[in-house]
């Protein structure tokens, strides 16, 4: 399948300091990839850079979406091309309700309003639908709110940052289900599965959704990529330190 997202030799700075180095990542249409790595390794930064957050400055390299160079596009333009994100720590906005954002996403389409209503009920967000977005929500509520927004915007490429962290087991069930809705076949293009990128460091979410490939990020670089199960089992057994060693060895061998 054609590549939907291509990150080529990407270097990114935040406040003048380079935090991502020569990152390469390719995600074909219809594939969901997992991004693993210890805290502070650059996973969130990569996701925010792909979304176009201006604090993350691309100092070298390119991001291509559906073959088009989007490196210089702003967030809105990228969102409208079909890139979406569920953030780990979204901001609260006084007076702006979750419902308003969802209504915006469906753009007054009555058919989509029915669909949204079903999503709202299925994701158990009624209690905070008319409250300020993200204000005073529990970990699980934030995940549901973010995933619901992502579902409502119907992205072609859906990114989510740690959907399984800070969530109790009961909530994880529902979060897993929502992630599955997101990556089930796209109703607008039934022949294809939606593509995406999931950051996880516990890996719990991979029990709910099939990932085609996993990448390990270490110190601002993608160290290795491969079968998600095998990679995750290795990490569980020997931790990221083993990855570091393995990657270093590989580097020496080259």
């Amino acid at each position: 399948m054609a590549n939907l997202l291509e990150v080529r030799d990407l270097c990114v700075e935040v406040e003048g300091q380079e935090i991502l180095h020569n990152v390469n990542l390719t995600i074909p249409e219809g594939e969901v990839h997992a991004l693993l790595g210890p805290n502070g390794s650059g996973k969130t930064s990569l996701m925010m850079t792909i979304m176009g957050y201006p604090a993350y400055k691309v100092c070298r390299g390119q991001i291509l979406f559906d073959g088009e160079d989007i490196t210089d596009l702003d967030i809105t333009e990228r969102a409208r091309l079909g890139i979406g994100i569920a953030e780990q720590r979204p901001p609260t906005i006084a007076g702006v309700k979750l419902r308003q954002i969802l209504d915006y996403a469906i753009g007054g389409d009555p058919q989509r309003a029915d669909e949204l209503e079903a999503l709202v009920q299925g994701s158990h967000v009624e209690s905070f639908l008319d409250r300020d977005v993200n204000a005073g929500l529990s970990g699980g509520e934030i995940k549901r709110s973010e995933l619901l927004q992502l579902l409502a915007t119907r992205p072609r490429f859906a990114m989510m940052d740690e959907p399984d962290s800070g969530v109790d087991l009961e909530s994880l069930e529902l979060v897993g289900e929502m992630v599955n809705w997101l990556f089930s076949k796209d109703p607008a293009r039934p022949a294809k599965r939606r593509a995406g990128l999931i950051i996880t460091h516990t890996g719990h979410i991979l029990n709910y959704v099939h990932a085609d490939k996993a990448h390990i990020m270490l110190d601002g670089r993608i160290g290795c990529s491969g079968n998600p199960r095998i990679i995750f089992d290795r990490i569980r057994e020997s931790g990221y330190e083993e990855c570091v060693r393995c990657i270093l060895e590989e580097g020496e061998g080259e």
Binding site: P91, I93, G95
Partner: protein, 372 residues
């Protein structure tokens, strides 16, 4: 219905902007002053009386004896002196009879259709015992009218257990000087709600309405929402004197400056067992310009059981909030408008659809940085 020859299409459009509808619109009564001429004063609602003030003064002797210039002294300042010196008073007299609850809103428009004129009006509103009235007051300049002065004295009397909700929407040209002088007296169990929305960037507004809560359990609530763009100087306050036990007052101010100067004031004076709160919040969206917001909430207690509090904050829009909404597909401007609208409405409940629509307009204007 209002005669077509008196209100032209362009006038009707200007009036609609401030919530006053020439036709259609569910209204219990209508008063329209166009420049110096009352073009309409009518009501078909039982218990609601609506007359040009000059007519009412002739009809009712008691009006002058008990109400006219009794809350506001003629020599308060140059505004009251100017209004008092009018050979024939302009303005509206509204009375709701005892026990009448007027469910549809009544509308009054003070409309400046010609440039450079000086309107000086005097309104008297009386709600008798147990009466209820929702009033929409729209003050607006016609299309293309940028200069003028609008001076207005409004005296309101709210009887026992009566409720007056006055929603005032201003939409003035950029060089209009606006000087309202409002005073309200509330008797036992009465309620006064004053919503004030300034939509377009008036040149110069200065207002400090006073309310006396003179009967036990009386209450007052002020909500002020203003947009000040470049060149505007807007100074709005509100003073509430709580003179009887169990009275309460709340004053909420929200201001957005895109380059204008806003002063938010509020003074709560507790002369009895009472509660009051002042809440001022401002948002300055004017990088490197002349914009200014100052908040001066004030409290004065003269009774040991007066509980008075205030809060004030001035802030900006956080970029991460805008970016978050952009990631949902909004344009930067759309995101800023939504955030401003949220700021203006935050913690304010039950605005109603008309006020809500005005606030959406303000947010839209502010989000675009410059006025139309």
């Amino acid at each position: 219905m209002i005669a077509d020859d008196q209100i032209e299409r362009a006038d009707a459009a200007a009036l609609a902007e401030v919530g006053v509808f020439v036709e259609g619109g569910e209204r219990s009564g209508t008063y329209i002053l166009r420049d110096f001429q009352p073009v309409c004063a009518l009501t078909e609602t039982e218990g609601l009386e609506l007359l040009p003030i000059a007519v009412a003064l002739e009809k009712y002797e008691w009006l002058k004896e008990k109400y006219y210039w009794k809350l506001v002294p003629t020599d308060l300042d140059e505004v009251t002196a100017q209004v008092a010196s009018q050979p024939e008073p302009q303005g509206v007299f509204i009375r709701v009879r005892k026990g009448c609850q007027v469910t549809l809103p009544c509308q009054a428009a003070l409309y400046m259709a010609s440039a450079g004129i000086a309107q000086a009006v005097h309104n008297v509103i009386i709600l008798e015992e147990d009466a209820e009235l929702g009033l929409i007051t729209g003050c607006v300049t016609g299309h293309g009218v940028s200069r003028g002065t609008h001076w207005a004295v409004t005296e309101s009397y709210i009887g026992q257990n009566a409720t007056l909700t006055n929603t005032m929407v201003h939409s003035w040209g950029p060089e209009v000087e606006v000087r309202p002088r409002a005073a309200t007296m509330v008797e036992e169990g009465g309620t006064f709600v004053s919503n004030y929305v300034s939509l377009r960037p008036a040149g110069d507004i200065q207002s400090n309405p006073r309310t006396w809560l003179n009967g036990r359990g009386a209450s007052a609530k002020y909500l002020t929402i203003i947009l000040a763009s470049k060149g505007s100087v807007i100074d709005i306050g509100g003073e509430v004197y709580m003179n009887a036990d169990d009275t309460s007052a709340e004053l909420v101010q929200r201001g957005v400056s895109t380059g204008g100067r806003i002063t938010q004031r509020g003074l709560m004076v507790g002369n009895a067992r009472c509660r009051a709160h002042v809440d001022c919040a401002g948002m300055l969206l004017d990088p490197g310009g002349d914009g200014l917001i100052q908040s001066i909430p004030g409290l004065k207690a003269l009774h040991p059981e007066a509980q008075l509090s205030h809060e004030a904050s001035i802030g900006k829009i956080a970029p991460e909030q805008v970016e978050y909404l952009q990631a949902r597909g909004m344009e930067e401007r759309e995101a800023i408008s939504l955030i401003i609208r949220g700021f203006l409405e935050a913690d304010i409940e039950g605005l109603g659809p008309e006020l809500d629509a005005r606030i959406a307009e303000i947010a839209e204007l502010a989000g675009h940085g410059e006025e139309k």
